[in-house]
Every structure is written in structure tokens, then in C-alpha cells.
């Protein structure tokens, strides 16, 4: 590929105390594609995303967005960098002190006034299949699946260039998980967003991924297309997608 990748990670390392979470992660994500990182709990998936977002500073390695090094940004430059991303957090991370529509319109320009902000929020809620009747509810009044959808509406509202999905289907029933997967695929295509997801739900991977990368012990051990995961003879991938206890992946007892 000759084009500059949207996200490029080069030799990313991070340790917390004595625990080496990232051991040199190298990964390219192209513009407009949906990349999914798979791997067991505690393999560094969340830390990778938080490094790209600038929430955690890597100990070594570089992060490039559109070919520009963003590893050491600070202050306003870091804030501007973070403004290019949207993120769907695992638990939704909705602000429980604010109503649904205020959550969804949170990242929009607040100077345009309440009426227009609420209209914009209702538009975005419609994109995730929610009616205007939920706009005035509090997040605590919604079910888990609905909270995820509101969080998704909030993440896409400012039309980010890149969106992260952190375990988008964890804790949902299979049908709601299917609905969220379907929404992710649709939104990424419609809004032409580059998507980077982390999950250990293989059903979800098969629906949302263009390409898949497998992370183990802080390193990318395999990457390929969605179709290739079922054909590869890579022992890590084989063990992971078949859920086998025996294999090269050693389960760490207790995460960080």
C-alpha cells in the first residue's frame, strides 16, 4: 500500500510498574477501513487505544495520524488532536447528571443555543434508531442496550474522523449485540469514518471488521482480512477463535 495510513503505530511500548503491557505494537489502519483488534483480557487492547487518544503516554514508539507524529502533543495541540476522535466506551460512560440530549450534543458547539442543539441531538439519536421521546430521559432510566446506543449517538455527533469502539457488545444480549454491530457497520460506511475496535466477541468481529489484528502479550502476533481468520494456520488465532484452553496463549490470572 503506497497511501499514508490514517493511523500508524510504530513500536509502541508501555509498562505499568513491572508489568509490560505493550511490547512494541506495530499497526497500520487505512482511511475508511474498519480494523478490529482481538485478544484476551489484559493483553493491552484498551491501553493501545488510550495511547492513540493521548490519555496515556507511551514509554517508547511513535503514533502517527495521517503521517503526522502526534506522540508528544501537549496542551491545546493535544486537545485539538483528541477532538478528531470519537469513542464508544465499554460501559457507555454517559454523564449521569445530564439528560440524554445534553449527553448527545455535549461535543457540539454550545453557542448555537439549546433548541438547535436538541434538534441536532434528536437527529443523531434517530441515526442509532432511537426516537425523540428518549431525549429528555436520564441515562439511568435507560436499559443497557439503549445506553450503548445513546453513547454511540454521542460519539458520532461531532462527526469524528476516527472512532474507537471499546468492547461494543460486552454485556448485551445476542440480539442487542447484533443491533449494535449492524449500527456500527452502517455508521462507519455512511459517515466514512475510520474505525478501530477492540473486542473478544468473535461474532462481532465477523460482522464489523474489514481487517483483524491479534494482540498477545503486548505485540501484534497476526493480522489479515476478516475472511483470513478462518483460514490461517496461526496458532494464536486458531486457539483464540476456537476458545481452546491449550495453545500458545497463556491466560494471565487477574488483569491490571
Amino acid at each position: 500500500m503506497s497511501e499514508i495510513p490514517k493511523i500508524a503505530l510504530k513500536g509502541l511500548r508501555k509498562r505499568f510498574g513491572n508489568k509490560h503491557v505493550l511490547n512494541g505494537v506495530d499497526l497500520d489502519v487505512c482511511a475508511g477501513e474498519s480494523m478490529v483488534i482481538i485478544g484476551g483480557s489484559g493483553t493491552g487492547k484498551s491501553v493501545t487505544i488510550k495511547c492513540i487518544l493521548g490519555l496515556i503516554r507511551p514509554d517508547a514508539g511513535r503514533i502517527e495520524i495521517d503521517g503526522v507524529d502526534v506522540t508528544d502533543l501537549k496542551g491545546r495541540a493535544l486537545a485539538a488532536h483528541q477532538g478528531r476522535f470519537g469513542m464508544l466506551f465499554q460501559g457507555g460512560a454517559l454523564f449521569d447528571s445530564l439528560s440524554v440530549w445534553k449527553n448527545v450534543s455535549f461535543a457540539l458547539d454550545q453557542r448555537q443555543g439549546g433548541t438547535r442543539l436538541k434538534a441536532a441531538a434528536i437527529d443523531n439519536l434517530a441515526r442509532v434508531g432511537l426516537g425523540p421521546d428518549v431525549a429528555d430521559l436520564r441515562p439511568s432510566e435507560l436499559s443497557g442496550g439503549m445506553q450503548k446506543r445513546v453513547a454511540l449517538a454521542r460519539a458520532i455527533a461531532p462527526r469524528p474522523e476516527i472512532i474507537f469502539f471499546d468492547e461494543p457488545t460486552t454485556g448485551l444480549d445476542p440480539i442487542m449485540a447484533g443491533v449494535i454491530d449492524h449500527l456500527i457497520v452502517e455508521l462507519v460506511k455512511d459517515l466514512k469514518i475510520t474505525a478501530l475496535s477492540i473486542t473478544h466477541d468473535m461474532g462481532s468481529v465477523r460482522k464489523i471488521a474489514d481487517r483483524v489484528a491479534m494482540l498477545n502479550e503486548g505485540r501484534i502476533v497476526w493480522q489479515g482480512t476478516r475472511q483470513a481468520i478462518d483460514e490461517t494456520d496461526n496458532a494464536y488465532v486458531y486457539q483464540f477463535i476456537n476458545g481452546l484452553a491449550e495453545g500458545p496463549i497463556k491466560m494471565v490470572v487477574g488483569g491490571h
Binding site: K50, L53, A79, F89, Q90, A93, D96, A107
Partner: protein, 265 residues
């Protein structure tokens, strides 16, 4: 003998670790405070958040602070009357009450009560936001968590504590006045005249300085411990406890330092 030396070394090592850890904590809190103050002064501001915090910290603390001051003012007048009667100095009740309340008990008890109410609530709220990733979410929603969450809390506490302490001082003196005039047989006109005669400007000024410092400590401890909490519900509980305990100790310590500086010479 050898094992004794080894034990002594181990003891020294533990002590060293404690000192280094203590100094590191002071450094971390100072950096946190510096960043909060710096960002509080620069735009963007969040006036709605500030007003909300002024209401939460200031207005809703009024009943607690008022009751505390009323009860302690009355008790103080009673004790001074009993103590003073032993050497024919019962007439010092209004003077000692007003000095005791304005210089020490108003700001200190007011500060401790507000710390109990507010530091704990801030630590619990920010701690929950931290463990549910709401603070990380702010950063992805074009909002600086420090400006949005920390700065308004610190500014609101620093602005409202002096007003709360003024109220505490007034209500404390009123408590002494009510008890002295109704139970101890003081003449109300004389009591008020003596109170005003002994109330000096520097008493009120030192009271306000203390209140401002205490307000800063209350919000700083609540925010610092909440913002850095980790480890789920248990972590939030620990953060809340640390916030209240550290706020209490810092209030009492800074009170001692201010008292010695202002009145010691």
C-alpha cells in the same frame, strides 16, 4: 547481633520509603493544584458549572454550618461563664465568646463541617466518573476535564467559604448571646456593646483568610482524591475517606500556621 543490624537497616529502609512516598504525594498534589489554578484563570470558562458548585458548596452547607455555630457558640458561653465565675470574671463571657468564635471556632468548625459534606461528595462523584470512564469520555468530547470538573469546584469553594464562615461567626455569637441573656442573666444591650467593643478588624480578617485557605483545601482534596481514584467501588470508597481525612488534617494544620503567624507575635 547480625539479625539486629539487619532489622535496623530494614526499619531505616521502611522509614526512607515512607518519607519519599510522602514527598512524592506532596509533589503530586502541588502539581495538581498548580494546574487547577492555572486553568481556572484561563478560558474557556464554564459559568453554569461554577454557579451549580456555588449552590452545592455554599447554599446547601448553610444549615449544617449554622447549626454547628449556634450550638458551639452557646456551649462556649456557658463554659466561659462557669470558668470565669471561679475568679470573679464571669463578665468576660461576651468578649471571650466573640474572640473564640471569630478567631478559631467559626472558621475551623465551619471548615470541618463543609469538608465532611463537600470533600466527600466531590471525591465520590469524581471517583465514580473516573471508574466509569466518564472523565476519559470528556477528553474525547472536546472538553478538558480539568477545566470542566476541577476548576469550577475549586473556584466555587474559595469564593463561598468566606461567606459561610461569616455566617458561622454571626450565628456563633448569636448562640452565645441567646444563652447568656436567657439563662445567665446578662443584659442584652450590654452584651452586644461589649461584643462589638472587643471585636477587632484583624479578628475578622484572619477569619476570612482562614476561610479562603480552608475552601481551597476542601475542594483540592475532594477533587485530587476523586480524580485519581481507581479500582471500582472499593477505590471510590477509599478516595472518599482519604479526601475527608486529608482535608481535616490540612485544615487543622493550616489553621495552626495562620494563627501563629497572625497572632503569635
Amino acid at each position: 547481633m547480625n539479625s539486629l543490624a539487619a532489622q535496623a537497616v530494614r526499619l531505616l529502609a521502611t522509614l526512607g520509603h515512607l518519607v519519599i512516598e510522602g514527598l512524592a504525594s506532596i509533589g503530586r498534589v502541588t502539581r495538581f493544584a498548580g494546574r487547577a489554578i492555572g486553568l481556572a484563570l484561563l478560558p474557556p470558562y464554564y459559568p453554569a458549572r461554577l454557579l451549580e458548585q456555588i449552590l452545592v458548596i455554599g447554599y446547601f452547607s448553610l444549615p449544617v454550618v449554622g447549626m454547628t455555630a449556634l450550638f458551639i457558640g452557646s456551649a462556649l458561653a456557658q463554659q466561659i461563664f462557669i470558668g470565669g465565675s471561679r475568679f470573679n470574671a464571669a463578665s468576660t463571657v461576651p468578649a471571650v465568646t466573640v474572640i473564640g468564635i471569630v478567631r478559631e471556632l467559626g472558621p475551623v468548625l465551619g471548615g470541618l463541617m463543609v469538608a465532611g459534606r463537600v470533600s466527600s461528595a466531590m471525591a465520590a462523584e469524581l471517583g465514580t466518573m473516573r471508574v466509569t470512564e466518564q472523565i476519559d469520555a470528556l477528553a474525547t468530547l472536546r472538553t478538558d476535564p480539568f477545566r470542566y470538573l476541577i476548576a469550577p469546584r475549586i473556584v466555587a469553594a474559595v469564593l463561598t467559604m468566606p461567606i459561610l464562615v461569616l455566617v458561622a461567626n454571626a450565628v456563633g455569637v448569636l448562640g452565645g448571646f441567646l444563652l447568656a441573656t436567657n439563662k445567665l442573666g446578662f443584659n442584652s444591650g450590654n452584651y452586644l456593646a461589649t461584643t462589638l467593643h472587643y471585636l477587632k478588624f484583624e479578628d475578622v480578617a484572619s477569619s476570612m483568610v482562614k476561610a479562603t485557605v480552608f475552601g481551597f483545601i476542601i475542594a483540592l482534596m475532594g477533587c485530587y482524591h476523586g480524580f485519581h481514584s481507581s479500582g471500582g467501588a472499593a477505590g471510590v470508597g477509599k478516595a472518599t475517606t482519604s479526601a475527608v481525612v486529608s482535608a481535616f488534617i490540612l485544615i487543622l494544620l493550616s489553621n495552626l500556621i495562620i494563627t501563629v503567624i497572625v497572632f503569635g507575635s
